[in-house]
Amino acid sequence: MLHTKTKNFEGPLDLLLSLIEQRQLDVTTIALAEVTEQFLQYIKQVEDLDPTTLADYLAIAAKLLVIKSKAILPSLEIEPEEEEAGVDLESKLILYKQFKEASKLLKLFDNKREQSWTRLVTFDEKINFYPDPSVSAKELHGAILHILSDLKELDNLPKAKIKEAFSIQEKINHLQSTLSKQIETKLSDLLKSAKNKDEVIVTFLALLELIKQEIFSAEQETLFAEVVIKKLKI
């Protein structure tokens, strides 16, 4: 699953870095804006990305969208915090690139295949027995219960995450069906029903895709007005 399509990328920053480097750009907000489309394209391809990882990609996608929006619409005004998203992502990416360099170095050492071994002292013949007087059957029972609770947590983890995942394709279908019942809708209404941040992002990505394919249009009368979404193709 995951590996068939993402094996070349160790996460969203890795993908982003490689998109920028493919174009031989420096890591800047301009470069980030330029590769936003490709980044989103990539996320769309990997619908089967495991949910935890998908959420990580979406978090970066959200930042890219802010950067891209600002690049296209310089007059667009956004919260100062988001204003910083560009610089923030830029530094994040450069820091990531630095550690990428560190891992390349470790890989070099690993590839030399020069390793060392320690020795092991064991009593093969049990000439000695030195128990710990405080370790009783009760202690061992306690240790096992502890391990079992850890194991349970590990098992439950992926299932819990799956519940929170939203597929972009599902969202596209949902939006299309919403707009087949009404002529237009407001962006704020679409986002109001979102249960959490991930769903907001997915809704936004789905909308962008529909607008790009000219299935929907988005209009904003004045600068601070509501964004109105309309269906173009009938």
Binding site: L13, I60, E82, S103, L157
Partner: protein, 221 residues
């Protein structure tokens, strides 16, 4: 006791110990202060640097091991396999831990931008990294490299790796001068009234989920 004697005793103790020894273990056994033990230990490390048996120094934990230059013949003798190569994911996590240790899972994931639970688990099982209590949060852990890390990569000490600053000197973080560049490109105008528009562009109110990196219910010991 002379330095010579210290060296000899330290070597004997490292030889019979079934796990790495810390300076403080050695001090206790020798009934000496770190100031007395350290020079002898450092001399021992230097003496043995090119011998068949070297002293691994893992941030103040010491262990004897074969010289990695003899890797192939020792491996063949033990009828063992060389340790499995690191995957791209694990080596990325390891690069961060090696240079930022001890470091939390949340910090690793913030740098990588992706969940790293499985890579961490893999590295823990292989013994290349270990958990250590987090002094600032009793419920969570920090990760650090082990002597097994040194053995795997054929190092004797973290000092065999170049300093991080040196390693990344070509990769600079953005500074003010870099940010004010290229006016021909559409640059975002500075937000004139930043506080007034929160309601108008709800779609743009997507904030980074900072919680995500600060809180990790799955962190276990």
């Amino acid at each position: 006791m002379s330095n010579q004697n210290f060296k000899s005793i330290i070597e004997s103790l490292l030889f019979v110990s079934s796990k790495p020894l810390k300076i403080k273990d050695l001090c206790k056994l020798l009934e000496k202060t770190p100031e007395e033990v350290k020079p002898a230990l450092e001399e021992l490390i230097a003496d043995k640097k090119n011998a068949g048996v070297v002293v691994l120094d893992n941030n103040g934990e010491y262990q004897l091991a074969t010289n990695s230059a003899n890797s192939t013949i020792v491996k063949n003798f033990l009828n063992a396999e060389l340790r499995e190569k690191l995957t791209d994911a694990t080596v990325e996590v390891l690069g961060i831990i090696a240079y930022r240790q001890p470091i939390s899972k949340a910090e690793i994931e913030a740098i990588r931008g992706v969940n790293s639970q499985y890579s961490l688990r893999h590295l823990l099982i292989r013994g290349i990294i270990e958990k250590t209590p987090n002094p600032s949060d009793a419920r969570s852990f920090l990760y650090q490299t082990t002597t097994e890390f040194l053995q795997h990569l054929g190092l004797t000490s973290m000092k065999d790796l170049p300093e991080f600053e040196k390693l990344v000197e070509q990769i600079k973080l953005p500074d003010a001068s870099q940010l004010a560049r290229d006016d021909s490109q559409p640059r975002p105008a500075p937000a004139a009234e930043p506080e007034t528009n929160a309601e108008t562009n709800p779609a743009l109110r997507i904030k980074e989920d900072k919680e995500k990196y600060n809180h990790d219910p799955n962190e276990k010991k």
